[in-house]
């Protein structure tokens, strides 16, 4: 694994604004994101020789178009040798990056375009979205019959995490505030209105102790990135963003079968990723941490070792993760503010990490950012992925 360090790089990213866009066809989000990524890389579109369309969940008919190379034809890509879907829910950003790195390292592909779009904001009703996700990745035999769904999953994890660490409701709510501070500076984010701990805690309870404002909001969106080998990347672009470290664990399918729902696999994943990169948490300039609900952002940060267990709440509350803070965390606003576009929530964090490293993050730019960590997870938090990206190979 460790010989992958610095061998591939992301050379371009693209993203359309996230939100409710009933008149924007889902495929348009994919095509515009892909065009942006190709433009950002500044390469001829026909150099792309492998396309990875991430799964879309709002429509199986649309998804089958993706599987059958619709994006290749719509973009008029002439040099594509393979089109293969990679899909592991919210972790698809990481698993597609791993797949692209493998294809490139093995000589099967040279330039891989990964593209995602979904239409969960307007392609389905609010209740349809809830019902869709009540079945997506939740055991139809052992959990669905008991009314398990994503709010109750987040509720179960938050309850146990608060019980074991003594974290307070205010500290959990502070994650929403922190992410919103960043979203205020992100023109592509869905929700940019400032908020407070009091406002979050006065929103209605979905599933204890989770409040409505602590839940992601389903949205329409699209994003894309392009990966190639380090040599080509240096030749083609000014600032390649290298994959320096990669680690992951798949820990369960049913939440009830996860051995520790207050930790998941982030510790092992981080040990692998940081070990491969030869870096420590103190080298990281910006942390793009998967946040579909506050508790998952807290757990991932602590398990990666950015602070002691149970201490992240104070960091979020005291502003140490906010713009201008010592550890900028989830700087696009995350799914709690940018919006949740299915697998796109993780994709958006990858795109944001690359923008930060390339100095393209506008008002929320973390000055001089060289190294970023990205986490992602899919389904009922079945896996934990940690990637380290950087503009130099240490």
């Amino acid at each position: 694994m460790s010989d992958l360090k610095g061998k591939v790089a992301i050379i371009g990213v693209g993203e359309v604004p996230t939100g409710k866009f009933p008149d924007r066809p889902c495929v348009e989000s994919a095509l515009r994101s892909a065009r942006q990524a190709i433009g950002d890389a500044g390469i001829d579109k026909d150099l792309i020789d492998f396309l990875i369309p991430i799964g879309a969940v709002y429509s199986s008919a649309y998804n089958s178009d993706l599987v059958c190379s619709r994006i290749v034809e719509e973009l008029g890509l002439k040099g594509v040798r393979g089109n293969a879907q990679v899909f592991s829910g919210g972790a698809s950003c990481s698993t597609s990056l791993k797949t692209a790195a493998g294809l490139i390292s093995a000589g099967i592909a040279r330039v891989v375009l990964v593209v995602h779009s979904d239409k969960l904001g307007t392609g389905v009703s609010t209740q349809e979205g809830i019902d869709l996700f009540a079945l997506a990745g939740i055991s139809k035999e052992w959990e669905v019959p008991f009314g398990q769904h994503y709010s109750s999953i987040a509720g179960l994890v938050t309850t146990r995490y608060m019980f074991e660490t003594g974290t307070t409701e205010e500290q959990v709510a502070a994650v929403v505030v922190s992410n919103r501070k960043w979203a205020e500076l992100n023109p592509n984010a869905m929700i940019r209105k400032p908020t407070t701990v009091e406002e979050v805690l006065s929103s209605k309870v979905l599933s204890t102790p989770l409040h409505a404002r602590e839940s992601n909001v389903l949205a329409d969106g699209g994003s894309a990135f392009i990966v190639t080998d380090a040599e080509r990347a240096r030749e083609w672009v000014e600032k390649p963003v290298y994959l320096l470290g990669d680690g992951s664990r798949v820990t369960h399918f049913c939440l009830s079968q996860e051995k520790d729902i207050t930790r998941f696999g982030y510790r092992e994943a981080a040990r692998e990723a940081f070990g491969m990169a030869g870096l420590s948490t103190s080298d990281i300039d910006v942390a793009e941490v998967y946040d579909s609900y506050p508790v998952f952002e807290m757990i991932a940060l602590e398990e990666m070792g950015f602070m002691e267990r149970g201490e992240s709440g104070a960091w979020f509350l005291e502003g140490r993760t906010w713009p201008g803070g010592e550890l900028p965390v989830t700087t696009n606003g995350g799914m709690l503010s940018q919006g949740h576009t299915g697998a796109g929530g993780g994709m958006a964090l990858l795109v944001e990490a690359v923008r930060q490293l390339k100095g393209q993050a506008g008002e929320r730019q973390v000055q001089g950012a060289r190294f970023a960590v990205l986490t992602s997870t899919g389904g009922a938090y079945v896996d934990a992925h940690v990637e380290i990206l950087g503009t130099e190979v240490p």
């Binding site: 609010t126 209740q127 809830i130 019902d131 009540a134 079945l135 055991s139 139809k140 035999e141 052992w142 959990e143 669905v144 019959p145 008991f146 009314g147 398990q148 769904h149 709010s151 109750s152 509720g155 179960l156 994890v157 938050t158 309850t159 146990r160 019980f163 209605k204 309870v205 979905l206 599933s207 204890t208 102790p209 989770l210 409505a212 049913c254 939440l255 009830s256 079968q257 729902i261």
Partner: protein, 141 residues
């Protein structure tokens, strides 16, 4: 929330190898598989032992006693089929034998629930063909 017709509850999508679990539940018994090679019990039912991969398995009855590992009381935006049930309690119960399962806690006092609280299995019919193992706090039994 809309007042549309509430769809019927999703019933367990059982497998041939889980049938003995559901049959036992109908008789008011909580049963799991145990591996005859490595000796470990496991939940949920599998075609082979998830520890040593042996297919040599037996069914054993559990005590039905356990404690709450975690819980969440659902108040809003439940799945459609559960809209009439709110508030209801989703919980992960850790059984005496060390196994965990997702279930519901049946209680009149959801505000009194705590992690590590002792619970005892009860059985509730779901449709005509299934009985679901749920739990009740021991002090409410």
């Amino acid at each position: 929330m809309e007042t549309a017709k509430i769809p019927s509850k999703p019933l367990p999508q059982a497998t041939p190898w889980s049938a003995p679990f559901w049959e036992a539940a109908k008789r008011g018994e909580l049963k799991v598989q145990r591996c005859l090679d490595c000796g470990k019990p496991f939940f949920y039912p599998r075609i082979a032992c998830p520890h040593c991969f042996s297919e040599d398995l037996e069914w054993v009855k559990l005590s039905g006693r356990g404690k709450i590992y975690s819980f969440s009381v659902v108040f809003n935006y439940a799945p459609s089929a559960f809209a009439d049930d709110v508030p209801y309690v989703v919980a992960i119960v850790e059984l005496e034998e060390g196994l965990r399962m997702l279930t519901n806690i049946v209680t009149d006092k959801p505000e009194s629930l705590r992690c590590e609280m002792p619970v005892q299995v009860i059985f509730e019919p779901a449709g005509e063909d299934f009985v679901l193992p749920k739990f009740r706090p021991v002090d409410e039994a």
